[in-house]
Amino acid sequence: MDHDEVLEQLELAAVEPGGLDRLTAGDTAEAAAIAGHLAGCPACATDLERLRRSVPILRDVIRTTPSPELRDRTLAFVREHGVARVPQAAPTVSAAPARPAPAGVPQPVANARSSMVMRTMPWVAAIAAAVLISVVATTAIVTTAVDSRLTAQEDSIRALEYVTVSTIAITGEPDVERVALESTAGAASEGTLMFSPSTTELVVVADGLTEPPSAQEYRCWVEVGGERVNVGKMFFADELAYWVGDVPAVASLPAGSTFGVSVADVGGASLDADPVLVGRL
């Protein structure tokens, strides 16, 4: 089985929920052939991981994109079932009787007093909205294990999107600098750090980092004048570790400056541990 055949099988399997797992863990001759190829082909194994990452994003977009025909159907539906209004209450308008408002549709409150309260105390509305979301979220999270798993996937998708758009934004800066981060221990981890001296925005992503030991975390830093300056704690989304934010120290870094990622105690100030990833400007 060659590269193209493997990629074809992987792509088609990735479209189906759980398809990649079934394909790569199955006991069929085809699964064995693919597993054998993947074991000896890092490039195809990398493609498999890329598919695992991109499919949830594509699935979310496709699920939430309406068909182009829905617009015409919706407008026709309203013409057919909507209340007759002046001046369209002409004979050409459907004579179908107006339906009562669907149950559950909230009444837009036009009460002057409550309106005034909301305008003068916006935090009341904010808290109410927050409580509502928390209740909805909590209810859904505790309902079933499936819901929890889907929620976790949703979180990861949002985080990946966040890092993605951050990358888009920073790569749009004319003075963007890129630094490749390489493993210091010969591990499979690697990363990329991007920053803009003019905006001081910085994005760092790393792939292949194992989760840190308990009570420890990964920190990204930049070495300035022989001292390591903390950039931030790396978060994880799926298998991607990342940090995004503003780092004033990158405004005027000299050539040769070093960036790194080290394990540090949670909440600790020390950045002295040997880096697991390092790169030089």
Binding site: V15, T64, A129
Partner: protein, 229 residues
């Protein structure tokens, strides 16, 4: 003196036009909010048919109750989102089903308008799988960039040939297997597979060109012709 074109009016003015019976104004409001309403409903259910019915009922509610909308209380986007959410939950309850997802994204997306504080999203996200909890706070620029990325993917989906869009929507949107798609459409299985791969290639092209080389490398499989090996 001529009236301004509906497309130049803000939401509140358009709702007043709808209350006066303007279907043109309703069409403009659909163009502005229809996608977000559908997204809101479809995140609560994997049933696209149900989500489409919710869109229709939401805009019917807008038409029927336009005269009760008060823009000083909240945005039209938030109002429509609330209607859509309630209608979806009602439908799911009636069918004995539960919402499939916490609407995290909708909590921070434009369809919620300005009525939902960002920290609510943070609290919700903190319960998820992201290690270390602190959720990203998106700036308006980030929201715009994210919106553009999704728009690019949506455009690719909408502009692809209908046969390709059909197979990929059935696969991703309705969780049908390739064999089930072939059976439903009456197409040979090989045709379904070919069209699925073409559709994926178009989407991948957007991922590759729309998110920069770092994430193209991270997300999109590299074509053999582009490889060094």
């Amino acid at each position: 003196m001529t009236s301004p074109a509906p497309g130049t009016l803000d939401d509140a003015a358009l709702v007043r036009e709808v209350a006066d019976g303007s279907h043109d104004a309703l069409a403009v409001l659909y163009d502005r909010h229809g996608d977000a309403v559908f997204a809101s409903a479809s995140r609560l259910t994997s049933d696209r048919g149900l989500a489409e019915e919710v869109v229709q009922e939401t805009f019917l509610a807008l038409w029927n109750r336009a005269d009760t909308f008060d823009p000083t209380i909240g945005s039209l986007a938030a109002w429509l989102h609330t209607i859509a959410r309630n209608r979806t939950v009602d439908r799911l309850r009636a069918a004995g089903r539960r919402p499939t997802l916490v609407p995290l994204s909708s909590a921070a997306s434009p369809e919620h308008g300005e009525d939902v504080p960002a920290d609510a999203l943070e609290r919700v996200m903190a319960s998820g799988s992201i290690v270390a909890g602190a959720a990203p706070v998106r700036s308006p620029e980030m929201e715009l960039a994210l919106s553009e990325l999704r728009s690019a993917l949506q455009d690719a989906l909408i502009e692809m040939p209908e046969a390709e869009r059909t197979v990929i929507v059935l696969a991703y949107g309705e969780d049908l297997s390739q064999s089930e798609i072939a059976e439903r459409l009456g197409w040979p299985l090989g045709t379904v597979k070919t069209r699925t791969r073409r559709a994926l290639a178009r989407m991948r092209q957007v991922l590759g060109s729309g998110v920069g080389p770092e994430f193209a490398r991270y997300l999109a499989p590299v074509r053999r012709a582009d490889r060094d090996d």
